[in-house]
Each structure stands twice: as C-alpha cells, then as structure tokens.
C-alpha cells in the first residue's frame, strides 16, 4: 500500500527541500521504493539538493501535459537503490499543475509499486502548495524555532484539515512536526523558541528535531542529501526521524542534556 507524504511549512527557507531529500533518501535506504516529487514549479531546487540537476531531461509538467512518460521522467538515484526523483520544471509556473494531472501522476506512481511518494511543497499557501498537500495521506510540517515560522505552520495545519482530499472525505491527514535548525544554546539564552514552546502552540506529535549544523549547507551545495553524512548531527537526526516514522521508538537527541531530561519526561513512554 503506497503512502503519499507531503513535506510542507507555509514559510519559505525552513528546510522543506532539505528534509524531502533526506527523508526520501532515508526511506529508500531502508529498502522502500521511494519517489520524491518537486512541486515547486518555476523555482526547482530539489534536483540540486539531490545532485541530479544535470540529468534532468523531462519534468513533472511534461508528464502532466502528456509530453513525456512517467518512466522517462523519473531520475534514478545513483547512490541509493529504490530512490527516484521527479523534478519540477524551471521554465513554467504553478498554473501548469492541474488537479487531474497531479492525481494521474500520483496514481501511476502507486500502480508502479512505489511504497512512498514524498511531495516537496513550495512555500506559501497558493496553488503549488495546495496541489502538493491535496492528495497526501500524511504530512510532515517543517518549522524553525521562531514565531513567524510557527504561525505559518499553524496556518498550514488548518489548510491540511480543511482543504485536503482526506478532509473533504471526512477523514484527516496524519500530522508530524519536524523542527529544523534547532540550536539548544540559543534556546537556553532565550533567543529561540524551545521544543516545548512550539509543541504548546502547534499541538501535534513531534517527529523529530534537526540541530543547526554546518553540514546541511555543505551537503546541499554538493548535491548530497544530508542524511548520507552519517558523521554529522543533522544526518544522524534525519536517520532517527526515518526510523521514528517507520514506527521505531528512538529517543530524541541533540537537544542538550537538560532539555533531553525534560523531553524524556514528556515523550518517555
């Protein structure tokens, strides 16, 4: 049974694409057949982060318009088996996405036996973001520890609950919170919202916390999903997230000693 997962946030620059790349790579290395789709038509980035930008021939919009077949357009990753990228078009805009077109692509991917279809949402709450979330079964809401990002995430949660297909059918999308660029030091100094503050505001289950790390930028620039940087804290945190998503109980790390004690009490079940 394939699952559609949207990586979304409302706000831009919080780490959606980094997360999409790392998460999809993580799922694939666990042996699941995974595809990650870039919904940011016109501002495509996922191919860069995945290091496949020079292998793009056909893109998502070509498939939607019937100009290319899905198999022609999927780029197979060279590092990890079972991992495919469907890049966005850089020369078009979000209007090129049609509901029918997106639905047929997702259905075709499901028929092709993909276990996980990861949708990398663009920022904002307009058409591109809406298309990315509409068909989702689960959502990972990416938030930075600052007030505007948290508020935008609250907004996107509202949209997930009212405008997704699941919601229209009377069900609901399973929500996960992912906090990125977390700096325990700055939380301690009172410059940053704490995990606890964010959970108070958003009230959804915490999937994980990615610490602020230089290796994220480095990995992105090299076109290497950061989860493959097994020595970096961010890479390890993404590994934990994939395990947690797949149902394992993994303790939260990189929140500093004190915070860990507190979170243990909170999530120590």
């Amino acid at each position: 049974m394939s699952k559609v997962i949207v990586i979304t946030s409302g706000k831009g620059g919080v780490g959606k694409t980094t997360t999409s790349a790392a998460f999809a790579t993580g799922l694939a290395s666990k042996g699941y057949k995974t595809v990650v789709i870039d919904f940011d038509v016109g501002l495509r980035n996922l191919d860069l982060i995945m290091g496949v930008e020079r292998r793009v021939v056909y893109d998502f919009v070509n498939v939607i318009n019937g100009e290319a077949g899905l198999r022609q357009s999927l780029i197979k990753d060279k590092r990890v088996d079972n991992l495919y990228v469907l890049p966005a078009s850089q020369t078009r805009d979000k209007d090129a996405l049609s509901m029918k077109g997106v639905e047929s692509v997702i259905n075709e991917l499901k028929q092709d036996g993909f276990d996980y279809i990861v949708c990398d949402s663009p920022a904002g709450i307009e058409k591109g973001a809406f298309m990315a979330l509409y068909f989702a079964d689960e959502a990972i809401v990416v938030t930075n520890p600052e007030v505007s990002s948290v508020r935008d995430s609250d907004r996107i949660l509202g949209i997930l609950q009212s405008k997704s297909r699941k919601a229209e059918e009377g069900g609901s999308i399973k929500e996960h919170l992912l906090i990125t660029r977390y700096s325990p030091k700055r939380v301690e100094d009172g410059e940053m919202l704490s995990v606890e503050d964010i959970l108070d505001i958003l009230a959804i289950p915490l999937l994980g916390v990615i610490p602020e790390s230089e290796s994220v930028l480095q990995a992105s620039n090299q076109g290497n999903p950061v989860i493959l940087e097994t020595k970096s804290t961010a890479g390890q945190a993404y590994e934990d997230i994939v395990d947690r998503f797949l149902g394992e109980t993994v303790e939260h790390r990189f929140l500093d000693v004190e915070k860990q004690g507190f979170l243990k009490r909170l999530f120590g079940k």
């Binding site: 049609s98 009212s162 505001i201």
Partner: protein, 260 residues
C-alpha cells in the same frame, strides 16, 4: 471549498459558493431609523464590521415596501462602510425601484431563516437586527453541531482552531476542546468555552447577547469581545494573562476574573 481549476487556460471560474455574511433584517421602512440603528450596531465592533458584506432581508416589512426608499438605503449602507450585496423578500410591485437603485435581488434562503424575534437585549430596538446566516466559511474547521434543545445549538470543535481559521456558532455556544491559535477567530452568538489557551480573537455574544461569556484555560488572546464590546488584551492590565480566566460584560466594560 474552492480548488484551482483543472483547466489552466480559462481566466476565470464562476462557481456557486456559500459565504459568511451578515443579514440585516429590517423592521421599519424609515431609512433614517434603519441607518441610525445600523450605525450603532457597527460602532459596537467597528473592526469586525468594517467593509463587511451585508444582505438586507425585508420579510418583516414586505407589505409596506412602497414606503421604502431603496436608493437612500443602498447609499446609506455604503456610507456606513458596509458593502451592500443584495436584498431579499421584496414584493413584485417594488422590483423595478429595487433594481433601479442598484440592488441585486436574492432568493430567500429558507423559511427557517425568516425573521427572528428580537429577543436579545441589544442596546437598540429601533428597527434593525443584525444576524449572521448561511455561513459556510471556506476555511472553517469542521464542526459537529450537537444537542438542539431550547433553540440553542452547541458547536463542539474537537481540535485546535488554527491560524487563519474562523469558526462561528450561530444561535448558541461554542466549545473548543483544544486551543485556538494566533490569527484565528472564534465567534458565537452565545458563550465561548475553550479548554486550552486562547491566542487569537474570541468574540462572544456577537448577536448582541450581553450575558454571553468567554471561558478559557489560558488567556493569551489578541482580542476579546462580548456583544460588540471589544478590547485588545495588550491594552488590559490583568494579572491573569496566560492563566485560566472568565470574561464577562459589566455595563460597557469587560471584566476578567479567575476561574474558581
């Protein structure tokens, strides 16, 4: 719910949709009285009513419409910074003057929406009553109306009200089992009960019920209002910020008390 169209070629889509709007039931044909009362209503909650769409319902005065100056009415409503959308329950013999004045004639929604008795103790009773009808807001959280007894409806929201969402319980109370986010709006004709923090706007007694109250487990709202008397929380000096609190209306003042 609106979706982006599947056909990206057409510059427009025309679709029927239900929208939140105020229905102005008039009980008089004297334009001056109507506008005066409407102005008073507006001044109770200017930010809430500013440029809000309004539909006029003439049911109560349907037989006396010859006496009503429709041009003066539409101009007057505009001057009060409302946006007149349309008019309904107008008799056939005045249709011409109604359309000439620039009104759109709407069908009556349902018989149940016909005139409500002016039972609320609003400050004015000069012939106007504002009520909200037919609201199915695009972004509103799903809700299950429960327990219809004594004409009261309780709306129960079993998850957080998120930023950008608006929930309104007409004719009754609203109960939010979780919290309300910054940038959200919770409105009820009756009282508002929140078993979590309130961080957005919370308006109780929006139809003029001065006995309505607001109850919450953590008072962090941006704005609170009862029967149109509103107050920004930042302008209030209360030790109860972030604490469980109950808000009621005493005269023209909102009173914030701890929950016992």
């Amino acid at each position: 719910m609106s979706h982006p169209s599947t056909d990206s070629v057409s510059p427009i889509d025309l679709k029927g949709e239900m929208n939140m709007q105020n229905i102005l039931h008039i009980h008089s044909t004297e334009v001056r009285d109507i506008l005066h009362a409407l102005a008073a209503k507006r001044d109770e909650a200017p930010p809430f009513f500013l440029r809000s769409p309004i539909t006029v319902d003439c049911k109560a005065v349907e037989s006396e419409l010859e006496a009503l100056d429709f041009t003066a009415l539409i101009e007057g409503i505009k001057a009060l910074s409302f946006v007149p959308v349309g008019i309904r329950n107008v008799s056939d013999d005045v249709v011409e003057s109604v359309t000439k004045a620039g009104w759109a004639i709407l069908r009556d929604s349902k018989a149940k929406k016909a005139v409500k008795p002016t039972s609320t103790e609003s400050t004015d009773n000069t012939g106007v009553q504002a009520s909200s009808g037919d609201n199915t807001d695009n972004d509103s959280a799903e809700s299950e109306p429960m327990n219809e007894s004594l004409g009261n409806r309780v709306m129960v929201i079993n998850r957080p009200v998120r930023s950008g969402q608006q929930v309104y319980s007409p004719n009754g109370d609203i109960v939010v089992l979780s919290q309300t986010g910054a940038g959200s709006e919770v409105l009820a004709d009756g009282s508002v009960h929140v078993y979590g923090n309130i961080a957005g706007r919370v308006l109780a007694g929006v139809n003029g019920d001065r006995s309505a109250r607001i109850f919450c487990q953590g008072l962090e709202a941006e704005l609170i209002a009862i029967a149109g008397h509103y107050q920004l929380l930042d302008e209030i000096d209360t030790p109860l910020k972030g604490q469980p609190a109950m808000i009621s209306l005493d005269g023209d003042k909102l009173v914030i008390e701890p929950m016992i």
